[in-house]
Symmetry: C2
Amino acid sequence: MSVVQPFAATFRREAPGHLVASEVVLQPSGAAGRVLERVRRAFIGRRIASAHELQERIGPVKGLAVFASDNISSSAYASEEIMRVLMAAGAGALALTMPLTIAIVVVLAIVVISYQQTIRAYPSGGGSYIVANDNLGRLPGLVAAAALLTDYVLTVAVSIAAGVAALTSIVPGLFDLRVAIGVGFVVALCLGNLRGIRESANLFAIPTYVYLVAIYGLLAFGLLRFATGTLPSYVPPPNPLAGEATMGLSVLLVLRAFASGSVALTGTEAVANGVPAFSPPESRHAGMVLIMMGIFFGSIFLGISFLAAQIGVVPDPSEQETVISQITRTLVGAGTPYHVLIQVSTALLLVLAANTAFADFPRLSSILGRDQWMPRQFAFRGDRLAFSTGIVVLSVLASVLIVAFGGSVTNLIPLYTVGVFVAFTLSQSGMVRHWWRLRDAQAGWRWRAALNGAGALATASVAIIVGIAKFALGAWIILVLIPLLIALMWAIGRHYAHLEKELATPWAPGTLPARRTRVVVPVSRMDRPTLEALAYAHSLSDDVTAVHVTDDRDELARIQERWETWGGPVRLVILESPYRALVAPLLAYLDASEALEPADSTTVVLPEFVPRHSWEYLLHNQTALRLKLRLFFRPRTVVVDVPYHVGIT
Amino acid sequence: MSVVQPFAATFRREAPGHLVASEVVLQPSGAAGRVLERVRRAFIGRRIASAHELQERIGPVKGLAVFASDNISSSAYASEEIMRVLMAAGAGALALTMPLTIAIVVVLAIVVISYQQTIRAYPSGGGSYIVANDNLGRLPGLVAAAALLTDYVLTVAVSIAAGVAALTSIVPGLFDLRVAIGVGFVVALCLGNLRGIRESANLFAIPTYVYLVAIYGLLAFGLLRFATGTLPSYVPPPNPLAGEATMGLSVLLVLRAFASGSVALTGTEAVANGVPAFSPPESRHAGMVLIMMGIFFGSIFLGISFLAAQIGVVPDPSEQETVISQITRTLVGAGTPYHVLIQVSTALLLVLAANTAFADFPRLSSILGRDQWMPRQFAFRGDRLAFSTGIVVLSVLASVLIVAFGGSVTNLIPLYTVGVFVAFTLSQSGMVRHWWRLRDAQAGWRWRAALNGAGALATASVAIIVGIAKFALGAWIILVLIPLLIALMWAIGRHYAHLEKELATPWAPGTLPARRTRVVVPVSRMDRPTLEALAYAHSLSDDVTAVHVTDDRDELARIQERWETWGGPVRLVILESPYRALVAPLLAYLDASEALEPADSTTVVLPEFVPRHSWEYLLHNQTALRLKLRLFFRPRTVVVDVPYHVGIT
């Protein structure tokens, strides 16, 4: 006699009453299921157990690549977007590009310094939502969260659109396909992140540093030519649609140009979010990366704006060629290897920047899910430990934006940055409050608060400028969406909180109260499924009532006769239904019985017939399904499905 | 203290254990439900109790109107369809119209005489399905049924299309809307039949007799003018697209013309179907109606063909004006009251003819549903005692045909009549077999069998002619559809029969066997719904196991601690799921438990949380639903839903 160990194949016994499931339990049984599983595994990769979460720590060199790529990538379009706005007042207005660039770099410097303190105060990650929620309260926290969520979606849309623009600058034939290519990139990022590419810092490092080397080489070459007075003359794009002056140079226009350029600050938050990922000393490494980021980005931004002005670049109104491409082409010639290198590394860096949002959005929404401001699904991790729901939602929203705005960076820019600066302001204000709270414990809290106060002031000003200057151009969409999102999250939070109270444990601990239930079995005909259900019900309770609903008096005699043979000790009640309805009389019977003699619950035992093939369901009455649906919404009603599988006894 | 009588409001006590539900139980409770109910009642009318079925018996006068309208209405297009085919060989070929009409009337006479016997032999209704099934067997019965079902659909499509054509002949502006008007008529008939207009014989009588009087008046006037040599010269339609001779006069063409004209026999079966509706002596009255029908129809058909030939009418190739309208217009002038009377009464009669199919199709499909060749839904009667499923299915199919064939009678005709003649042949052959069986009991069985044999021969010949002559024009569709329909009905019948055996009562009568079940409660958190489910499970059985699936070792300790406080006597098993799956480990646990220690069934008690608003479902995990679906397909698994309704205790 062999010893049967059915548990051994699928479970490992950890302790008494504690079993650990092996991966075997996840194998699908059907052929279709197995094919689907293979496709899934091919795209997503093998499952990862929760215990195997990779806790790779990174130093400042890789850290710069992972967390600063989003911000640095803005240099690919920041100068251009300033120039595009100024163009409306004629090519002469482009002279303002350089002063506006300097103003934005000053704001960036303030934010970088201000954020140094956040990094030190929140070594476990200091995103705007956490800082605002901790120090200012739940509503400011939600405002920051809503602002950030919209902004992450725009980061993906704008970065991908700019990356595609970098590519179409060297392959103009792809220009008409830019929407499709953009959505293709989003899908690729989605699949990659469902696999969990977040962790591979090495992959990130290469394009970032290639871009830095390439762009610094270009700037150095350009500045050398400028210093030696040998700057080549500007080569306009192949189809120079002359941008015509459509309006005078007004304060609003200058503010708009400033607002467009302020995309330069997006991505700054990523470093503060990522502190725990750095190798110790975490805060110091993160702080170093933040400063390096500021220096790299600031210098590239200034350099590009300077060269564009000196060469006399005019942005291409058809958006077929980027400003960086025009500068490169003028300096080194169109289609030269260096031109291709600049464009390809820019495109790669921008895709990487979009990928940052693919880490940030799911993480923030998982925190919001955990804090019950968003559906709990956002907090669950998929096969590969990634927050699958957040990744898929982000991909869908970003794709919708790319399609809706025709894949144009310039059309998307007015929506961008409103959210960033709202979040910055709340985060910095939160830090001021933070220092105020610690005023007794923390030396130098005054100057720390002052520093963050300056940051809050600067970012609040930019937020207001962006909101006003770009309101009519599209920022209003975000200013409508953010409050709606807040209201939605507030409603969800209230629902969960309310429920928590409702679902509190109801009776004294230590015992389970006895429950008395009335057992009713609807009987349509005396067949095997019905008899199985009756036998089951009878083994649950001694007090079972079978109910037969009919409109046919002839049939009535037949069932009563069969009942005497088969019904055993169970009582039969006939409900005659002159209008042929089946569900309504049964429900009325349950109501009347309950009113006559209350019980803790009514248990309805349903004989359920499961045919061999699914198409056969069409041949059987949907009455049982309708009854179940109605009973589901009836209070204190327990539904018991006793299935009878044809061919399996 | 008042006496509580909760049953009195909704039920009447008929006998011990036999309650009769009042209409009150059918009142919907929600506001939306009440509005829907009102709309329903406005369109369909009040519910009718099964006991109130109206058994109106009718005499031969009304019987002619009710059962002969389908056949007589064919006179509106039979001559025209013969002429349209002949036209292909040039206007000269129209000389064959009269001889072909005579041939068809001869066939009709044979069928009418042959059917006299069916009426006598089947006083409870002798449709082709019943006669073929009774005498020839199940497969011939199904062939007849399939042929009839397709033909009823075509009766609706052709009659409605012809009725619309009668109207557009006097209001040409409606011609472009003919598809929409046709579908509108179908919808009106559908609603009318859901209300149950079948019974109102009075309504039917008027248009039939108006048509008879009007058309005989026209024929008499025309024949008088012919006899006196004063027939007016032919007035062609306003846009006479001259029909060009496209082919020579071949045997095939003549056969086609004959096949088109044989629509004249459709509707003959209705009288045999309807025998039980006549007042006694039923068979004699039905036989009288059948003979009257043959005489009326035959004389009108001959008269129209004759006048058309004498006047020299040429059918309008654009189908804008019918031949009858051209004859009438030529004789009495366009737009005269008499012209309008003829056209309107023709249209009404044709709609009535379509209505005959609305009685026949649902009745035949209800018989097929009862005999388990079609889904049982077809045998159920709706609020107004009508077979709702059949009515709706017929309406949808007929509408599809009208739309697909652009509302053209001529396009639909090739599909029509194949089925009729197949059914006739089977019915008449069945009668031959019937007499053979009764050869010892029935005097004169020989000449009776010979009569039906002649009918079978005549109708079989026509069936073959129609099938061959019209095969390429569209009859092939029907010759493909009928076998498919038979195969489908056969498969359904096999399924039901097979099931009947499978579901036979399994054990000896007089007792219900005891059933041992293993009770398992999946527990996700220790909240009120879970505790209610545990208390319920514990009151069902002393041997309950709670199972908690988790991937979080920290949470594990917490639940074990809470279990000691709240779990009572129930045993807790922890299933650790390293890959975060919830459903699969639970199913593997059930399988392993069952393998270790078999029971009659596994009972899974599910805590079910019912939120107040349906949108709130989105915020709660669909895990329970997924689990239920998987468990539903697991053999020997009983699922118990213990709902907890928020806000209702």
